[in-house]
């Protein structure tokens, strides 16, 4: 559905496209928690993508998370990476990764260390209107963590 990379970077772009498709199809973390400590819903009014994120937090680490995404391939793939990597992460680490994702998209900085699946999004650099597609799940996760912090 989203051929941003294929037209931008030729065959290399298509390889990333396949990686992003695979991540989106995995939909790791899709679902809902029974008793979340924090929950957030964020949407992008320009493209309609929306992410609902739920977290359980134990000792400043993410103990469990679940998300429900309606959106494009990039948004669903980014949420899937969160599903694979964020459980066990400290809140500070999520903040750092989120900043790293923005740097990768906006300034072609190297993908943030540790969450290697995020390198699939490197070719999105230069497609400004798509940056928020990747960032939306991270913003939702941070908002859910803030909500969990306020609960305690």
């Amino acid at each position: 559905m989203t051929e941003f990379a294929a037209d931008a970077a030729g065959s290399a772009g298509r390889i990333y496209q396949e990686a992003i498709k695979a991540l989106a199809n995995d939909a790791t973390g899709h679902g809902a928690l029974v008793a979340p400590d924090g929950r957030a819903f964020i949407d992008n009014p320009l493209c309609g993508d929306c992410v609902e994120m739920e977290v359980n937090v134990a000792g400043n680490r993410i103990a469990a998370l679940a998300h429900h995404v309606k959106g494009c391939l990039l948004c669903r793939a980014a949420a899937s990476v969160i599903g694979k990597r964020a459980v066990g992460a400290r809140v500070e680490e999520v903040e750092k990764i989120s900043t790293g994702v923005s740097a990768m998209l906006e300034r072609e900085a190297p993908p943030p260390a540790g969450w290697h699946e995020l390198s699939a999004f490197a070719p999105v650099h230069g497609h400004r209107s798509r940056y928020d597609c990747v960032r939306l799940p991270f913003q939702a996760l941070l908002a859910a963590l803030r909500a969990a912090g306020e609960q305690r």
Partner: protein, 231 residues
């Protein structure tokens, strides 16, 4: 009228679902049709059922054409036009369809587009199309048109529309775009229903401006409403 049918009729009209009652004049036996399912004591042929459906879609009551003995009473609400996508064409289509007697609902989760300033006097829904259509339940007097330019939003709307009894389903996009769409919807298990989609949407009036495309869409919706799909 049998109590069971009366209850069905009352429930359907209360839910805002157009429906019809067919009475066999010889013995007063009746059948009930809610746009999707039939029940009751009168067995009709497929051709008779199709004819009743056409009358209901058009909001007409009377003797079933060609029959001496079957009276159709349509309980049809004002026809609804559900427009998916608060796009340029929709800005013309929504007021035109309202003037033409349709109840118009515009669905678009892109809140920047679906603003009250751009669509004065129109019911706006900012849910995702699949969620919205599940709630709105397109019935046999509902037309659904997708105009978002984004398969991410058009596809879930078309899937919901094709699973509903909507009398008209149309989708904006070129023949090439539509071929890809048909492939995706077939993969989604709707291969037997994709032929219902009017695409490229609208009558071929030759115009290409958004207001002209709106006229062509509205014309086709009205044509199908009164003339049926064979027109």
């Amino acid at each position: 009228m049998k109590w069971v049918l009366y209850e069905r009729l009352r429930a359907a009209t209360a839910a805002g679902t157009s429906c019809a009652v067919v009475t066999r004049l010889a013995d007063g036996a009746q059948a009930f049709f809610d746009g999707a399912r039939w029940e009751g004591a009168v067995d009709l042929t497929d051709a008779q059922r199709a004819a009743v459906r056409r009358m209901l879609v058009a909001g007409r009551s009377g003797m079933l054409p060609g029959e001496q003995d079957l009276f159709v009473r349509s309980y049809a609400r004002a026809p609804r036009l559900i427009v998916v996508g608060a796009a340029h064409i929709s800005q013309f289509l929504a007021p035109m369809a309202t003037l033409a007697g349709f109840e118009v609902i515009v669905i678009d989760p892109r809140r920047a587009f679906a603003s009250a300033e751009r669509f004065p006097g129109v019911t706006l829904v900012d849910e995702w199309p699949d969620t919205a259509l599940e709630r709105l339940k397109p019935d046999v007097t509902t037309a659904v048109v997708t105009l978002t330019h984004d398969p991410k939003l058009d596809d879930p709307a078309l899937i919901a529309a094709l699973r509903s009894p909507a009398f008209y389903v149309g989708a904006l996009g070129s023949t090439r775009t539509h071929a890809k769409r048909v492939a995706r919807l077939t993969e989604a298990g709707l291969g037997d229903r994709v032929a219902r989609i009017h695409a490229p949407v609208g009558l071929d009036l030759g115009g290409r401006a958004p207001c002209e495309i709106a006229v062509s869409i509205l014309s086709q919706v009205i044509q199908v409403r009164y003339r049926g799909e064979a027109a």
